[in-house]
């Protein structure tokens, strides 16, 4: 019984969101607002039980008082809600920003910069292996020309412009692949919902 009611509620909310496709309407607005509220509530409760309790409350209860610093910084963060003293929240924000900036600085340089460069360096001619030769060539040339395209200190003219042109082709192929994959993703999501409506709710699909 409870389960059936649940399925009906879920199905009606699904239809409510779909109604946006016909036009924007109050029923859709209701569903969207409900989602915003429910997801914020979900985050709030989850953060309480799975972060605040084990990381702050339990540590303090166990006598590790140093964690009070985290609590203080956290409460400073909440002061943002009050415009007059909101500036203090920048102290906590500084901690967050500093941590990510410090980590990103080396890590992105290594993983997405240097390691990528290292792995693009490969023999262009692999004797006796034509597909490999072509593959390597494509990767080296593609990466090279793509980077030339994103080089802003020189106008795209002459040979340099030619490289940039080839670069943009590679970039377009990447975007094309991205496009195709995104379409694939969106369609999958629709299938999931339709399966719910026709299968779980109406029971038309086994």
């Amino acid at each position: 019984m409870v389960e059936t009611i649940g399925i009906w509620i879920a199905a009606i909310l699904t239809l409510g969101i779909f109604s946006f496709l016909y036009k924007d309407n109050p029923f859709y607005k209701f569903c969207e607002s409900l989602f915003v509220g429910v997801s914020a509530g979900y985050w709030f409760a989850t953060t309480f039980w799975q972060v605040m309790m084990p990381k702050l409350v339990d540590n303090l209860a166990a006598g590790r008082w140093i964690y009070i610093i985290g609590g203080i910084f956290g409460i400073l963060m909440l002061l943002r809600l009050f415009p007059k003293i909101g500036w203090i929240s920048r102290w906590s924000l500084a901690l967050v920003v500093g941590t990510t900036a410090g980590l990103y600085f080396t890590r992105y340089l290594v993983s997405n910069g240097m390691v990528q460069t290292e792995n693009t360096i490969m023999p262009i001619f692999v004797t006796g292996n034509l597909p490999q030769t072509i593959g390597n060539l494509v990767i080296v040339v593609g990466t090279f020309c793509g980077l030339v395209y994103f080089f802003f200190s020189k106008e795209h003219k002459g040979t340099f412009g030619g490289f940039a042109k080839v670069g943009i082709w590679f970039i377009m192929v990447s975007f094309g692949a991205s496009f195709g994959y995104t379409v694939m993703s969106r369609m999958s999501l629709l299938l999931g919902r339709l399966d719910y409506l026709f299968g779980t709710w109406l029971g038309l699909i086994k």
Binding site: F20, D24, K29, E32, S33, V36, F105, T106, L109, V110, G113, M114, V115, T117, E118, T120, I121, M122, P123, I124, F125, V140, T143, F144, L147, V148, F150, F151, F152, S153, K154, E155, H156, I171, M172, F175, G176, S178, F179, T182
Partner: protein, 394 residues
């Protein structure tokens, strides 16, 4: 204890799966067992190396694994620290750094190692190794390449920021999307229709949003000169406030503070699809001649671009959200791809810090490009020494 159970289990399974001749003969032991501190760590690990048993993969071919044993006394009792599969000749005996941990491995204390070659049911033990102790390093030698990269990049950035601050003109190539701005505004004036500028869904502190403000300032100045209305529906109230400030300043600069209309820069809602519905309504009612989509965009990108395209507007877009760029390219007339958006804002804004770091990024790319050319040559002609320069060892 658990580690040992797993080790034993592994050995058991290896004996099951590895195709070996099940002789009961003892294999020859591994030789030249050496222990030394594991480099580049915090000082709680010792590396053991050995020469493979002659029966590993050759000879009697009956070695299935090596067990590594440790003791703090060469004559004392040795305990198993781990297992390495046959064919391996190195093992890192990693201990814990907390004294309370069962697996604690103290630094600066001598340990001795033995390596056992395991056959099906028997084993052969090597000689005891030299003593070795673990200690922490003050510098991770494997990361020298990274350190050089960090220093080079920072040096470039500081140098160019300094140069820009001194007033030196730094060249940034013209971008098609920005070149088209004047033409697009001219067209709107001719048609007597407004311009729609959308800053996206980002908050005011995102790089893409900031870049969008810089471009907005330029666009607003032009619209002030041409006396064309500019509409800016906003998703975020802080973004709205900054946008109002930006446009007001631009109108003042153009000498037309009187024609600035604050009500044209307004807040719609901060719910993704409700916002889209609102903006679509504006597009269909006002039929703007030109739409700008510059900033942070998510899934709504293609809905906006589609409506604008059907309404027949010229569209100029730009975002650093990679997954959305393809839709912008397919549905709008000009697109600033990722970094081009930042470059455009540095170019228009003339802010020394932004220009300086953009230049540093360019030089970083130049370094990568040069490495690629030299590296490809070195790899093709097999200059190992040269190749090692590019290797990032972590």
């Amino acid at each position: 204890m658990r580690k040992i159970t797993i080790s034993l289990l592994t050995i058991f399974l290896l004996t099951l799966f590895v195709n070996i001749s099940f002789s009961q003969e003892e294999p020859l032991p591994p030789s030249e067992v050496k222990a030394s501190d594991t480099p580049n760590d915090n000082g709680h690990s010792i590396t053991v190396t050995w020469k493979l048993s002659p029966d590993d993969g050759a000879g009697k071919k009956n070695v299935v694994a090596y067990e590594i044993l440790r003791s703090d006394n060469p004559e004392g009792e040795f305990e198993i620290r781990g297992v390495a599969p046959a064919g391996e000749s190195r093992f890192d005996d990693k201990g814990a750094k907390e004294k309370t941990d069962k697996n604690y491995l103290p630094g600066h204390k001598n340990f001795y190692y033995k390596v056992r070659a395991k056959a099906d049911k028997t084993f052969a033990e090597s000689e005891v190794s030299n003593p070795a102790f673990a200690y922490g390093q003050w510098y991770h030698t494997g990361k020298t390449t990274v350190l050089i990269g960090v220093i080079l990049f920072s040096a470039f950035a500081l140098y160019f920021i300094n140069l820009a601050r001194k007033g030196k003109k730094l060249f940034v190539r013209p971008l098609a999307g920005i070149e088209a701005v004047d033409e697009a505004i001219g067209r709107a004036t001719e048609m007597g229709k407004p311009i729609l500028y959308i800053i996206g869904l980002g908050s005011a502190d995102m790089i893409a949003t900031i870049a969008s403000f810089t471009i907005l300032s330029r666009v607003a100045k032009k619209t002030a000169e041409y006396q064309t209305p500019i509409l800016i529906p906003c998703y975020d109230s802080v973004v709205m406030a900054v946008a109002q400030e930006t446009v007001r300043a631009a109108y003042l600069e153009a000498g037309r503070p009187d024609s600035y209309k604050e009500e044209n820069i307004f807040f719609v809602t901060s719910m993704q699809f409700a916002y889209v519905a609102g903006v679509n309504g504006i597009m269909l009612r006002e039929r703007p001649a030109t739409n700008f989509y510059l900033g942070k965009f998510y899934a709504e990108s293609l809905i906006l671009a589609e409506t604008g395209s059907v309404a027949g507007s010229i569209q100029i877009s730009g975002t650093d959200e990679i997954a959305q760029i393809p839709f912008f390219i397919a549905a709008t007339d000009y697109t600033l791809i990722g970094e081009e958006l930042y470059a455009a804002s540095a170019y228009l804004g003339k802010e020394p810090v932004l220009l300086g770091t953009l230049k540093a990024q360019d030089w970083g790319k130049a370094l990568v490009i040069i490495s690629l050319i030299l590296g490809a040559l070195a790899a093709s002609f097999n200059f190992q020494f040269f190749l090692n320069l590019f290797r990032v060892q972590l």
